[in-house]
């Protein structure tokens, strides 16, 4: 056992910080914020999300707003994904890359219309990358003088409601029934006349939605959703369960599967790149990787036995050559055995048997298709 880190440092609080603490959450520093890692237990929160629904405070994620003529064109230059044809109510997943195709962040962009019929785009970025992305956007703004850019992160809160019962249970909570949205659609509605963005997106592999509300409304909306789902078994869940859930769904996490040394093709995110008939920062480098084929490939591994392989463990071919590293790994609460994602040299990526060096001990592992878990489709 190690000793607790007691270095004095202050962290930002989300608008729900007091709620988490009064609910007895265990708080940890994450990307400059103090965030709940768990309330009761990671495993019980994980199961609640798979079987009923879980609420996650994701207010630490950055929310960047683009208003005015040229917003589409600016974002189209910024993102690997086409934005100019994103209809109102549409949401897309894409990446911000540097000129070399290295991933600066993976993001969601939404095209929204306010009740007063004005349109804007909302870019949701990772908390750990927010400052970097804001700086990256600034020079672009000079080319698009009619665009008004604002960082809405601290004025708003973001709540993810994820699980098979999320939609049905919350049908009547807002003026607009979120179950009328298709996957990757969003719209602005309200609760008691207070605006709420509802987006049918998430990061758990379950159905459900994400909400953006004004910071001062956060606790009320959070409690309303929890109350609505009390009979159904809704629970608040922390970053611990969020990580095990996204890992089972094989969703990449920035800083693990993704970073500036990885391009979208290598990360296995071809679907999030529109390379044809458009230009964006990093396009040529990404197109070159696509035509030559990536040198590394993201794969799924099942470590034998019960000992989890964690991030950073070396992956070896069966003849003992180091051919890659684990990017995320741990026990899968749903499956009941350990799972891991790895980046390995492309020439070895089709092998079926591997070894993993788990802190000095070699352990066999077999390759498996990603994702590890896929929800039953209705």
């Amino acid at each position: 056992m190690s000793q607790a880190d007691s270095s004095p440092q202050t962290y930002a609080q989300t608008p729900l910080g007091d709620w988490h603490r009064s609910a007895g959450a265990k708080m940890v520093p994450f990307a400059g914020y103090e965030m709940p890692i768990q309330y009761e237990s990671i495993v019980s929160e994980h199961h609640a999300c798979r079987n009923a629904a879980a609420l996650f405070d994701v207010s630490h994620m950055g929310r960047l707003r683009f208003d005015g003529d040229g917003s589409e064109a600016l974002l189209d230059r910024l993102l690997t994904r086409r934005v100019t044809d994103l209809p109102i109510g549409g949401v897309r997943y894409g990446m911000v890359c540097n000129q070399d195709g290295g991933i600066l962040d993976d993001v969601l962009v939404s095209h929204l219309k306010t009740p007063s019929e004005s349109r804007y785009h909302l870019l949701v970025v990772n908390a750990s990358n927010r400052a970097k992305i804001v700086e990256w956007i600034k020079p672009l703004l000079e080319d698009f003088p009619k665009v008004t850019f604002s960082d809405r992160t601290e004025l708003t809160a973001m709540i993810a409601v994820q699980g098979p019962l999320a939609m049905e249970t919350c049908k009547r909570l807002f003026s607009f029934d979120p179950s009328r949205l298709k996957y990757y659609q969003a719209r602005i509605t309200d609760q008691f006349s207070k605006p709420v963005i509802v987006s049918r997106t998430g990061y758990t592999g379950e159905g459900g939605f994400e909400l953006v509300v004004r910071a001062e409304e956060a606790t009320r909306v959070w409690e309303n959703v929890l109350l609505a789902g009390r009979e159904a078994g809704f629970v608040p869940a922390g970053l611990g369960a969020r990580d095990t859930l996204r890992m089972e769904a094989a969703m990449p996490l920035y800083g693990h599967e993704l970073d500036e040394t990885v391009d979208p093709i290598t990360a296995g995110l071809n679907f999030a790149c529109n390379l044809e008939d458009r230009d964006f920062i990093g396009r040529d480098a990404i197109a070159a990787v696509k035509s030559a084929g990536p040198r590394r490939v993201r794969i799924g591994l099942l470590p034998a036995g019960r000992r989890p392989a964690r991030e950073g463990c070396d992956v070896l071919s069966t003849d003992g050559q180091v051919i890659g590293k684990i990017t995320s790994g741990g026990p899968s609460p749903t499956l009941g055995y350990p799972i891991a994602m790895a980046m390995v040299d492309a020439e070895h990526a089709t092998a079926s048997e591997f070894e993993i060096d788990i802190r000095g001990k070699r352990s066999p592992a077999t390759r498996t298709k990603l994702p590890f878990y896929r929800r039953a489709q209705k």
Binding site: M1, Q3, A4, V43, P308, P331, P333, R359
Partner: protein
């Protein structure tokens, strides 16, 4: 057998030690505290040392793993591993209920007693936990 947690010695790193005389030898039984188990939460794996291995005081002798993280286990005393609790890794859920009896991890034949002087009694350990928790 029922071990009294208030009579054990504790390391800053949350291991407990029960020292007993057996046939003229001082034997240390080592486990991890109930406070630590509660903090770790959702245990999934434990790695034990091999019998016959000699471990220095403060050296890592195994690890315990929760869903979220791996925590090394440090030996509060130096000595030779004479027994390991082989059923424990397959019954980690029972550690929660019974950290001091069923939850013993290893027994060492003490070769270096000096480290015992650095350990805390229960009252001092409880104070450490209260301050960190």
């Amino acid at each position: 057998m029922s071990r009294d947690k208030s009579k054990l010695l504790y390391a800053e790193t949350h291991e407990w030690v029960d020292v007993a005389e057996e046939g003229g030898q001082k034997i240390a039984t080592i486990g991890i505290s109930g406070f630590a188990i509660e903090q770790l939460n959702d245990l999934v794996y434990m790695e034990l040392p091999e019998v016959g291995k000699t471990i220095d005081a403060g050296e890592e002798f195994g690890e315990v793993e929760s869903v979220k993280a791996v925590s090394p286990l440090y030996s509060p005393v130096g000595g030779e591993v004479i027994e390991v609790h082989a059923e424990l890794p397959d019954n980690l859920d029972q550690l929660n209920d019974d950290p001091y009896d069923f939850g013993w991890i290893v027994k060492l034949k003490i070769e270096d007693e000096s480290a015992l002087a650095n350990l805390m009694d229960f009252a001092a350990y409880e104070k450490q936990c209260a301050e960190s928790g």
